[in-house]
Symmetry: C2
Subunit: 215 residues, 2 copies
């Protein structure tokens, strides 16, 4: 068993991407892949991919590439072996409702268990099997929950974050455009949909595709 | 003026992240930043940051770091100088509606101009100033539009993609869990919300935060 703490963070950050890409190859019935193919599809240079994969114990063979099944097995073990991670959703607007209806059914180890909103008309409703509580009752309903998805209005983002942290949440997936401040022991990942769109437009403009093919 | 086509793709991919992080520093009133601070916050190693920034014409000074304002100016020019990019939204469900209400008002150069759905009860409605058309009328309403946001059910993803491509769309932001196949000249960026949540949980488990601080 590889000691995961030995994987550099920059490499770990690429794990879910590798996993997604290799899973797609597997679904297509491909049994091997070259670092060049991976490089073109993922926009990560081949040297980086080869170094990353060496941490996973995968050694590519010249003229053969990497064994897709071996790598997938490694990623599954690494990403899924954790215990279940119960998640709280804060803010049942359009984006929040989309999360509840989707609720990561394809993931074994992450699931929204409880939702909160300030709108009394939403409180008590059940969306995608999850009950919506009033935001005033946040503190009493976060037992065992360490992860929160934040889809509240920008003006509420910091205030709610402070309450979440005080209640013991140590990981926040921030979908608001707000920058939130947290203590050192709390991890925030920020997904800015505007940035994602901007990035796509930038790449279309400056990196016209030729022979590469992206998933 | 730097020739942007000389920036490696891997570097370009980090542009929006750099931009977001530096913009936050600027808002906080900070005038300089070290590659170490950037490295810890962004989980990109310092050597990579220094190499990236050298492409931007930014040379850090020992004991001083980088000038935040200079870098921000560069990123603004690089990311915003393009002409407007009109965008089509396909699928006005919860996630699609969230996009229409948000509509990237902070971006100057990307804006949803038209939306489509298969549900006749939604057709003709105006959400966030944008009119919803029937998906049957897709082909007649995509004039000048090269980018589409895909928030349709998985089962429709490939079929709609084929129609978009045929109608001249060359960039797709895919929010469905489906893997879509496109011709070589079409760029697809895939955002899988389950992968993002999984990634956060993985990092919380394996990389407990100590003295680093993430935005």
């Amino acid at each position: 068993m590889i000691n995961q703490n030995k994987i550099p963070q920059a490499t770990a950050k690429r794990l879910p991407l590798y996993y997604r890409f290799l899973n797609n190859l597997h679904i297509q019935g491909k049994s091997r892949v070259s670092s060049k193919e991976l490089s073109e599809a993922m926009k990560v240079d081949s040297a980086t991919i080869r170094r990353d994969f060496s941490y996973f114990g995968a050694l590519g063979k010249k003229g053969y590439g990497y064994n897709v099944e071996y790598l997938l097995g490694f990623f599954r073990k690494t990403l899924d072996q954790d215990e279940n991670t119960p998640v709280a959703l804060i803010g049942v607007g359009n984006l929040g409702t989309a999360f509840l209806n989707y609720n990561f059914t394809k993931n074994n180890n992450t699931k929204i268990e409880v939702a909160f909103d300030a709108d009394k008309r939403k409180v008590g409703k059940t969306i995608g099997d999850i009950q919506v509580h009033h935001i005033d009752d946040l503190e009493g309903n976060l037992e065992n929950i360490s992860v929160a998805i934040l889809t509240v209005p920008v003006s509420e983002a910091q205030n709610i974050t402070d309450r979440l942290v005080k209640a013991g949440v140590s990981g926040i997936l921030n979908f608001t455009p707000a920058r939130i401040t947290v203590p050192e022991n709390v991890r925030v990942h920020h997904i800015d949909l505007a940035v994602e769109l901007q990035s796509l437009a930038y790449f279309m403009k400056h990196y016209p595709l030729e022979n590469e093919r992206e998933e």
